[in-house]
Subunit: 301 residues, 4 copies
């Protein structure tokens, strides 16, 4: 089976490498030549263009930054839809707007192609280790075709529903994650301003109805959890600007489908202010810092 | 050991009954005579006044609606501090402002009394079954004296720290719970407006980084979880107005100690609007309804 | 001068009628035949299609509900750009996204056409009376060509800047208006909950630093201002769903250009909840009702 | 007539000086001796204590930082109520919680004293120039007694209603002012991110339904209005921490009386974050800076 892999960035490259290492024929394309070299180093092929990668492939995988890149790659003149052979399966692993996913998949279907949306979670660490989680939208039969490839790149594969459902789950889950993080940071700050030790407070809440993923594995208060980015200066982890992008997708999607997300919108705006203050590259747990010092000096009478 | 129990409401009565059934001598006082009768029916005593209950007791337990009741019961003229015998231990199980708890405990200490704050979670069901969770602030030695009693009323006992720490943990945890609920409701609404089945979406998020107590045991979307109040018309459970009270304590406490809780404040206001629309008596998962129908009709172009 | 007027709705019809009454040759097109009859009744012409209206016109005016209608009317196959004669001036009076305005105007320019965006304020009353305000984006020379027509439909004409600037001003102003309304309603509710008469409070704030357009001409509390929609059951005026549309454009535009509008986003969400509760057709001052009764019953201890 | 003036800070000193210059006998007390010297320099007297100032005075005026100072000054042992002669009129010009004002005035009334709350706006400039605005709560007859004094210190005197109404109007107006400022800053940022000149945008909105006090006299964008603090580095003017105090009073009061102020609460939290980032001493228009640079770099795809 021949695979075209378009988009060899921080996520795409290790994913494509895992496929190549597993023995698949992978033709990669990226605007950065160095990324293609790194793929070739583990047995992949360099392609001169997206079109060249696509030509003669059985499966096309795309991993691109945003909706507009996916749209232009598939729908633009000389795009994937123009060059793919009949019967090709498209797998878009980018995180994009559900609307955009549905639009591209409808265009693919109109030309007779099968396509699934398969955004991931797990970060660059998961991409390298092959332990990503895939959230998949599309027909079950198409997911079955994709499964042998996805299993080389990830560990959990959820079938969320029809076209766009993978993106929808991603956007819902990550909006909720942003809310969990901001809410947990506020609860910890509130306790600390009352003089409580964050470790004790975290332990009790993790056993109570405040329990959530952030308290369990990603505590935003430095020193509470050695393995969390907060304990190493908020370096590594999942960046503020990536969370901001996902929250922006959620708010935009909510406007588009008429859903109400007042809390999600506020959390997006807090991340926006935090990013504009120069913290876009820190781990998203650093929202803890936006809430400021624990001093009592701002208390009013 | 003789116990005075002041405040025999929906929570206080079953707690006092559990102590009486366990063989303790419990003198109860409440403004409602019927509640005292119910205590007497399981072996407790009726007291004519708070003062009468307190006189000659080794331990005084209070379970009252709000800060002002606790303050007047302990600090008012002819209050508990005036009638208690030297060496009496005070246990306040009410949910009140951390500031108020610290104030009353300081007044008790100034008169030579030991006092702990021990608010509970678990609701009326937990009170009846004797499975409450206690979050305790105060000296370890005083908690040790209280423990044999608390163990008849509850299952988990957390020592949170010094005076007021029990109230602080309660307020932090419940603010976070309110945020988890509102955030989960929004994520479900967003997915559903995109056409997703809430059950599938809930399952995937519960295994992903959106995981939290609400998704695990208290899903706010009707039909997803049979055991949740949402599946029985939001009846029973933890009421909107109780959550609103706890979120009000959190916002008030944040103002008092200079902490920043923008998300908690918004969620309080959403519960406030929900209550004002006439939903104060429903389970707090009904915030799902505030977010409205899943129709697409409000989508703009 | 021959004018094509596309979109004869509640706003477009009276605008086109004012042009016809002023002696211009106006060929109108709308999907609703009755609207074209109403134009014909004052001397206009019925056109069989947008294309037929456009053919041979010197100026094309469009007044359509949303971005997608404007895009398809101008850019679609067989759209305005395909049928207009060289030298035609396009005036889009619709309220749409600044991005969409810039896109359509760029496409028009690429085909050699001049175009301005000229959204209005003043409502159906202003459209009928010919007293609208126009906020215009585009070249000054093109505005000069349009001015004799705009002056028959409105009273104030602001030149905001280049392409899209009319839409930008409209979106900024109306977001601010939504904030003024919500903020004024909150201030009045807060005073009333303290026992103050809303009339006295309004008078003092209108002379103080709380002064704003809402306090001056559009008080949302029933009975304070006879001329305001609040004093006639929130009927007439500027509807909740129209404000919701404009706030949606603001939030969407902010996402697109990277601006931060946390307060605007919250106000949009309050209008969204208000609309979902069934109030979309009331005047936007009815947000006063979302804030609920003045009772003290929700106060916590 | 003999006047006791307690609290000679940045506001109180120039107010007391204006009374002394107008020929009234003013005995001033403040913890800072230098402030009393400054009063003596224009003909006032130094008092050794609040009690000494109060003894034998016809009118007592207080100008203190917060509720707790007013409560202890009037209600504490050896406080004003203990030393004032029968028939003394109390005028509290401090900005404090309406609840606190009502409490102190009820205590004064119970001892047979007349009292009005008379908070001011106009800042230190208005205090020096004698052009303050007074918002007065209390009986009309008591205001009439106070009027000759107030007229030496201010220009506008509003009678808001009964006891506490002056504080209520102050809190409502200043919450609304905070909302106007944040909303105007957002609207300007949104326009600028679309490439608009802030001066043009401000001019058009000031003539449209976005019109408000901030656009008229206090534009937060540097360079738009020479007389505004924004055009001199946000120095002078009304400080962030003072606005934060007033917004805190509004949120606290809303909790107390059961009013809903979701927008006011968000704006308070934005000022709180802005203060915690180190900007507490700047003019409150600097919230414009919290919204960050106008770059497009945070826009998502």
């Amino acid at each position: 089976m021949k695979i075209a892999f378009i988009g060899l960035g921080n996520m795409g490259l290790p994913m494509a490498q895992n496929l190549a290492r597993a023995g698949f024929a992978v033709a990669g394309f990226d605007l950065a030549a160095g990324q293609m070299d790194a793929l070739a180093a583990v047995g992949g092929e360099r392609a001169d263009s997206a079109a060249a990668a696509v030509a003669g492939s059985d499966v096309v995988i795309t991993m691109l930054p945003a909706s507009r890149h996916v749209e232009s790659t598939y729908l633009g003149e000389g795009g994937v839809l123009d060059y793919a052979a009949p019967g090709t399966l498209f797998i878009d692993c980018s995180t994009i707007a559900p609307d955009a996913a549905r639009k591209v998949e409808a265009a693919a279907a109109a030309r007779g192609f099968a396509m699934i949306d398969a955004p991931v979670s797990g970060g660059t660490g998961g991409a390298q280790a092959g332990t990503l989680t895939f959230m998949v939208g599309g027909a079950a039969a198409d997911l079955d075709r994709a499964r042998p490839l996805l299993e080389k790149m990830g560990r959990n594969i959820f079938h969320a529903g029809g076209s766009g459902a993978g993106q929808t789950v991603k956007v819902c889950n990550n909006m909720l994650l942003g809310i969990l993080m901001a809410g947990t940071a506020e609860a910890l700050r509130l306790g600390m301003a009352n003089g409580m030790a964050p470790t004790v407070l975290s332990e009790i809440m993790a056993k109570s109805s405040g329990r959530n993923w952030v308290l369990e594995v990603y505590n935003p208060c430095p020193g509470v959890m050695d393995s969390a980015p907060s304990s190493r200066g908020y370096r590594g982890g999942f960046g503020v600007d990536l969370m901001l992008k996902d929250l922006g997708l959620a708010v935009e999607n909510a406007l588009s489908v008429g859903a109400s997300v007042p809390v999600g919108a506020l959390v997006r705006n807090l991340y926006d202010l935090h990013s504009k203050a120069g913290n876009g590259g820190l781990d998203f747990g650093s929202i803890f810092n936006l809430l400021g010092a624990n001093s009592n000096s701002n208390a009013h009478a």
